[in-house]
Amino acid sequence: MSHQARKEDSRNAAPLVTSDPRDRGGRAQPLLRVKGLRKHFVIKRDLLGRPLSRVHAVDGIDFEVRKGETLGIVGESGCGKSTTARLLMHLLQPDGGEVIFDGDPVGTRGGLSLREMRRQMQMVFQNSYASLNPRMTIEESIAFGPQVHGVGRRESRQRARRLLDQVGLLPERFAQRYPHELSGGQRQRVNIARALALEPRLLILDEAVSALDKSVEAQVLNLLGDLKQEYGLTYLFISHDLNVVRYISDRVMVMYLGKVAEVGDSEALYRAPAHPYTRALMSAMPSLEPGRRTQTAPLAGDPPNPIDLPPGCRFCPRCPLAVDLCRGTEPELAALPGGGHLSACHRADEVQAAVSNPQPSVEESVR
């Protein structure tokens, strides 16, 4: 019990990020800065092989991840959040844009090499089973990364066992197991250990807790909190679950059809969302208050595919507030008064005003 109490204290204390010897630009410099990141998939070509239609999976997004923070990315299927993660890891080749890791451009001449970048940035996937090689023991899977980077066999195995212990799995019981012998929660712990084996500074969690049962999800979220504290990690936490993102993130970025719709401090964004899509997402969450059920769905229809998009705002076909301006001109991501909160909506002020207004009328106007 006292152990737990101590932990609570240390959690409230300031994060211990600055001590990392790999830190280059100091605290003020963002750990990751992304500029104009873009990926289009061609889905149809004409006879000469020229693209006929494309999926605008990620369509020029800018954002930064500050040192020691957790940036949450939310959005529905097709919004490009998982593609963004794969682009950052260079598992997909970006069509354009720049990724700058702690001041160094990634993958360009004179910048950070891909191999070095992958040492500092690691990823945990959603599917805990598919992301472990079924023919390798847990220990081998975790030790693989360090071995690739030249750590000796014995030492990497020791590291694997240490990490297993850290993620709450007894090494002597689990090291020699195969993935199919573990439960989903245990496997996701292994995946986290595997990602940490390279001692990264940034961990991308792509729907890492989404497939877990709720009771197990809470355990893994606690684990993530502890590990962040212990290693001074920075997280990029991707999820479709607004409650979880709100719990874990310092800042939140909302994506819609390959673009950033809104980004801001977690509390500010949840308290006063400045994009109609964010509002819709929030009111689509099932209510947990007995007797207060949702009466109207905030949006009709499914999120469209980001194929051959029309000019103007991409949300406007589903937006209850759309006006002619929205159909003609695509809104830029612009800062709202107060700073730190950006929204890509022509009518951001009105959206925000409508929310902070305590009286309902919002429901009406949005409908």
Partner: protein
């Protein structure tokens, strides 16, 4: 230790006083397995569903919630499954049905919707044809009437430009649309009981709420009874009149949705409520339920939740707690209910 409001009641007492329930499950056991490994998926479930009632079975993966639902239509692989107990739907004994009776029962008395709508449709026929065909087969009407009915159903599940959509192949429909089409298919023979197996789990949030609202509306219009299986408390709250929480193949708590969510009494339900991540808890540890659910090929004696339960004592690990009445049909199966009152 035990409060005196609580009275241990016989297991047979129906939850809602209803002379003619839609579903009546008594002491249902479902065991799967090969000779070498037996999985005890469901271990003595008693459940009653009144006509026109919406019940949610809430539980995690492996709790037996889907298996319970499937045994209502005998959809489990017969050769590998051992079903005991009694299952009555609309007055008929499901476990005693012949193959013919069963196929008449499926679709007409009870219909089911799934998490994956694509599995309900044959990819090489249009959705309209498939619904019309189902209507023709079950009701012996002409193809024309079948198609007319399909159109009416598509309108009813709010599929825009229904006529055009009927001519679509399943893969041409988006996620929410195919979920609606599957609901139309399930409703095609006017079932009295709709079984829903996590139909909104794979959907995006903004689509999920639409489907939940649609189901609520359809249930009201058609007066169906619904059993809805989910792992999401929010979804349960949105859809149901009553909740039955399942853990390790047994019901651990049942009651009206308001009382179970506002005042959960079983330590497992309490744990689920408290371990939810939310904005207010930011920067704090979540009070997660420790450990993992038991291996159902060797479930522990006594209360299956005891190894993870903060209130457990020696009694819990030895004897199985029965359902205790907490008032207003709210019941929980726990030895230490005295400690869990708020």
């Amino acid at each position: 230790m035990k409060s005196d409001v609580m009275t241990r009641t016989a297991v047979q007492t129906p939850l809602t006083a209803s002379a003619d329930p839609m579903v009546e499950i008594r002491d249902l056991h479902v065991h799967f397995g090969t000779p070498r490994r037996q999985v005890q998926a469901v271990n003595g479930v008693d459940l009653t569903l009144a006509r026109g009632e919406v019940l949610t079975i809430l539980g995690e993966s492996g709790s037996g919630k889907s298996v319970t639902l499937r045994s209502l239509m005998r959809l489990l692989p017969e050769r590998k499954t051992r079903l005991t107990g009694s299952v009555r739907v609309d007055g008929q004994d499901v476990l005693a049905m012949s193959r013919r009776e069963l196929s008449r029962f499926r679709g007409r008395t009870a219909a089911m919707i799934f998490q994956e709508p694509m599995l309900a449709f044959d990819p090489v026929f249009t959705v309209g044809d498939q619904i019309a065909e189902t209507v023709c087969r079950h009701e012996g009407v002409s193809r024309r009437e079948g198609l007319a009915r399909a159109l009416e159903l598509f309108d009813r599940v709010r599929i825009p430009s229904a006529k055009r959509r009927l001519a679509n192949y399943p893969y041409e429909l988006s996620g929410g649309m195919s979920q609606r089409a599957m609901i139309a298919l399930a409703l095609s023979c006017r079932p009295k009981l709709l079984l829903a197996d996590e139909p909104t789990t794979a959907l995006d949030a903004t689509v999920q709420i639409q489907i939940l609202l649609l189901l609520r509306e359809l249930q009201r219009e058609l007066g169906m009874s619904v059993i809805f299986v989910t792992h999401d408390m929010g979804v349960a709250n949105e859809i149901s009149d009553r909740i039955a929480v399942m853990y390790a193949g047994r019901l651990v708590e049942t009651g009206a949705v308001d009382s179970v969510i506002a005042q959960p009494r079983h330590p497992y339900t309490l744990g689920l409520m408290h371990s939810r991540a939310s904005g207010e808890l930011r920067g704090q540890r979540l009070s997660a339920i420790p450990g993992a659910p038991p291996d159902m090929s060797a479930p522990p004696p006594g209360c299956a939740f005891a190894p993870r339960c903060p209130h457990a004592d020696a009694t819990c690990t030895q004897a199985l707690p029965g359902m205790s009445e907490l008032g207003d049909g709210h019941r929980a199966a726990c030895w230490r209910l005295g400690e869990t009152a708020s």
